[in-house]
């Protein structure tokens, strides 16, 4: 311990150990590069083809009425509204169940066998493929109850995908609420349900909101349930019971079936870029809410 030279001779790695370390370092950096390449590649493809399309004002203010695959013009308003509307219906159904489910897991059944069982089921639900969720809604609403395909049917299948995402993030946030807050409320004679609604939930609010926005981001990019449960239309339809409603993913799916030389094909990349902007925007919004929440806590 007396001289630095002794130190280095004792600890500095030599020979093969050093080589291994350098090789692994190289591999780790390489993996980072490999992971980023596809994103950059995809984004360049989409932006270069989609940007000219979405820069027109008509893209954001018109539907495709009066245009065809061979006529330029028109916009994606019908699909943007449809995507937002179906997302909204999904959130309205999914969020209350998800938040209450998380409250059950943390506030009422924490540590019990029942909570472990329910928690396991949440994991299973979060692993259900979207196509299975869609088939389930098809089997139940359409085959058994004889309803028609509709925007609501599509939204209900997306509930299955959004519910576990929001439930898990809410659960994590409720876990972070310190017990001292709850105990302080109980000590003041506040009933448990009011403690949850007025102390626990507001404290965890920004985290829950983040989870909701991320859940929305996940379902808005889903295509499979929309293919099965609601038909695409070129015009703006607002009624949630309508059997036709455009969404951005189905707009892409319909548009990809034309030759690359036609105007209709350009709209595919426009819709793709719009969808990515929407989903990424929601992701950024979620980060912003989370950060704003953290800042407020300080």
């Amino acid at each position: 311990m007396s001289a630095p030279t002794t130190m280095s001779s004792l600890t500095a790695p030599r020979g093969s150990r050093r080589v291994t370390d350098v090789v692994v370092r190289g591999l780790v950096y390489l993996s980072g590069v490999i992971a980023v390449v596809p994103l950059v590649w995809i984004l360049i493809t989409i932006i270069s083809k989609g940007l000219p399309v979405i820069l027109s004002a008509a893209w954001w203010t018109q539907d495709l009425a009066g245009t065809t695959d061979r006529r330029a013009g028109g916009g994606a308003l019908h699909a943007i509204i449809g995507t937002l509307e179906i997302g909204l219906i999904t959130a309205v159904v999914a969020v209350p169940i998800a938040v209450l489910g998380a409250i059950f897991l943390i506030e009422y059944a924490r540590g019990t066998r029942l909570a472990r069982g329910v928690s396991f089921m949440v994991d299973i639900l979060s692993g259900i493929p979207s196509i299975v969720a869609a088939l389930f809604v098809f089997a139940f609403l359409i085959t058994i109850l004889h309803f028609d395909r509709s925007a609501i049917a599509a939204a209900l299948s997306l509930v299955l995908l959004m519910l576990p995402t929001v439930l898990r993030s809410t659960e994590e946030m409720l876990k972070l609420v310190p017990d001292s807050l709850r105990e302080a409320a109980y000590a003041l004679g506040i009933p448990k349900w009011r403690t949850i609604l007025t102390v626990v939930i507001p404290t965890a609010f920004s985290g829950i909101a983040t989870g909701v926005v991320l859940g929305l981001a996940r379902v808005m990019g889903e295509t499979a349930p929309l293919l099965i449960l609601v038909a695409y239309a070129r015009n703006l339809y607002l009624s949630p019971t309508s059997d036709t409603m455009a969404t951005l993913p189905t707009m892409i799916n319909t548009g990809r079936d034309v030759a690359e030389t036609l105007a209709g094909y350009d709209r595919v990349w426009g819709a793709a870029l719009t969808l990515i902007l929407l989903v990424m925007g929601l992701n950024l919004l979620a980060r912003w809410i989370a950060r704003a929440g953290r800042l407020k806590d300080r």
């Binding site: 245009t67 065809t68 695959d69």
Partner: protein, 368 residues
């Protein structure tokens, strides 16, 4: 706003240039330029809104017709067509949800009964409107003209002919040097009316080779299935030595080689004239203004291209709300006009032959 107007003008200019080009390329439609200036005068252009639904095979054609009709009528009426499939179209027409339906096949007896109830005890008519030929497209370097026949096609699709220089193909293409490459077949992996039509054609013309049932799912042997017509077209384009079937429009838009069909006497090229001849050979099975057709796939009529899909508009002969009926009648009369039909060729559809077109047009006029 100015930008919107500008782009619309540009689009309109592009379209008129397109239809002019289409007119000049074929002799069958000369004179339509003169008709086009007179046509708007014949239209009543009532205001209001109608919705139609059905076959996706005619979707491109009817969207283009709606756009052209709107141009002529300065967007007075709002017409929507949702290509959800023939079954859905007929179902929703019979349920009174849409004002007319597009369908790949004429109404079956039980459907016609339901349609009569929907039209307040008036008959529903099948009006053939859009004719979509099926192209057998190939990608073979150095071969500009390829002739096949039903028997050879069926054998290729059943995996019995596997190379391009097979004697059966060579016999149809004397003087053409065919490579010894494997024939890579592309077909539709999703169930489709196009696949059903190809199997009907092969079943009718080469029943000893094409033994499977006719169905919307492909029943061939070997090959690769691609999703949607665009998937088949792109695969043919990207793979040398390939052969695939698709609607004519996809073959044209992707600039693919299209095989001629030898129906017995001579090779027939796929063009609007040869498709029209096949339709002239079809028999009308409906009565009066109901113009349901029965195609003869095995036709040997000289110069007739046999692999053709006819789609119908299914309308109430009477009984529809008067305001809506007026738009249906006006729009369909434009669609069945020479101008409306001539515009279809640039999209890869064939215009109705004049004899049939005039029958359809007079049926439309008879709608109350």
């Amino acid at each position: 706003m100015t930008m919107t107007v500008k782009s619309k003008l540009a689009a309109a200019a592009a379209l008129s240039a397109l239809s002019l080009a289409a007119c000049s390329s074929t002799s069958a439609t000369t004179g339509s330029t003169a008709a086009s200036s007179a046509a708007p005068a014949a239209l009543a252009c009532p205001a209001g809104q109608i919705t139609a639904e059905g076959s996706s095979a005619q979707s491109n054609a009817i969207q283009e017709a709606i756009a052209a009709y709107n141009d002529a009528c300065k967007n007075k009426a709002k017409i929507e067509y949702n290509p959800t499939g023939s079954g859905a179209g007929i179902k929703n027409f019979n349920a009174g949800l849409v004002d007319f339906a597009g369908s790949d096949s004429s109404l079956k007896t039980d459907e016609a009964t339901a349609a009569k109830a929907r039209c307040k005890t008036n008959d529903a008519w099948n009006l053939p409107m859009v004719v979509g030929p099926i192209a057998f497209s190939y990608n073979l370097k150095g071969v500009d003209k390829l002739v096949l026949n039903a028997d050879v096609l069926a054998k290729i699709f059943q995996g019995q002919i596997t190379t391009w220089n097979d004697p059966a193909i060579a016999a149809l293409n004397s003087g053409v040097s065919l490579p010894s490459d494997k024939i890579v077949v592309f077909y539709r992996s999703d169930e489709s009316g196009t696949t059903e039509n190809v199997s009907k054609y092969l079943k009718a013309t080469a029943p000893s080779v094409w033994t499977p049932d006719t169905s919307k799912a492909w029943k061939g042997v070997g090959g690769e299935g691609k999703n949607k017509s665009s998937g088949v077209a792109e695969a043919v384009k990207a793979t040398s030595g390939s052969l695939g079937y698709m609607e004519w429009s996809y073959a044209r838009d992707n600039k693919l080689g299209i095989a001629q069909i030898n129906t017995g006497s001579a090779a027939v090229e796929l063009n609007s004239g040869s498709v029209g001849k096949a339709l002239e050979a079809a028999t009308i099975t409906g009565t009066g203004n109901d113009l349901a057709l029965k195609l003869d796939y095995a036709t040997k009529a000289a110069g007739a291209y046999p692999a053709v899909l006819v789609t119908y508009e299914i309308v109430c002969s009477a009984g529809l709300d008067t305001a809506k009926s007026a738009i249906v009648k006006d729009f369909l009369s434009y669609f069945a006009s020479q101008e409306g039909q001539a515009g279809l060729e640039s999209l890869g559809y064939a215009p109705l032959p004049t004899s049939l077109r005039t029958k359809v047009a007079s049926a439309v006029q008879a709608i109350k």
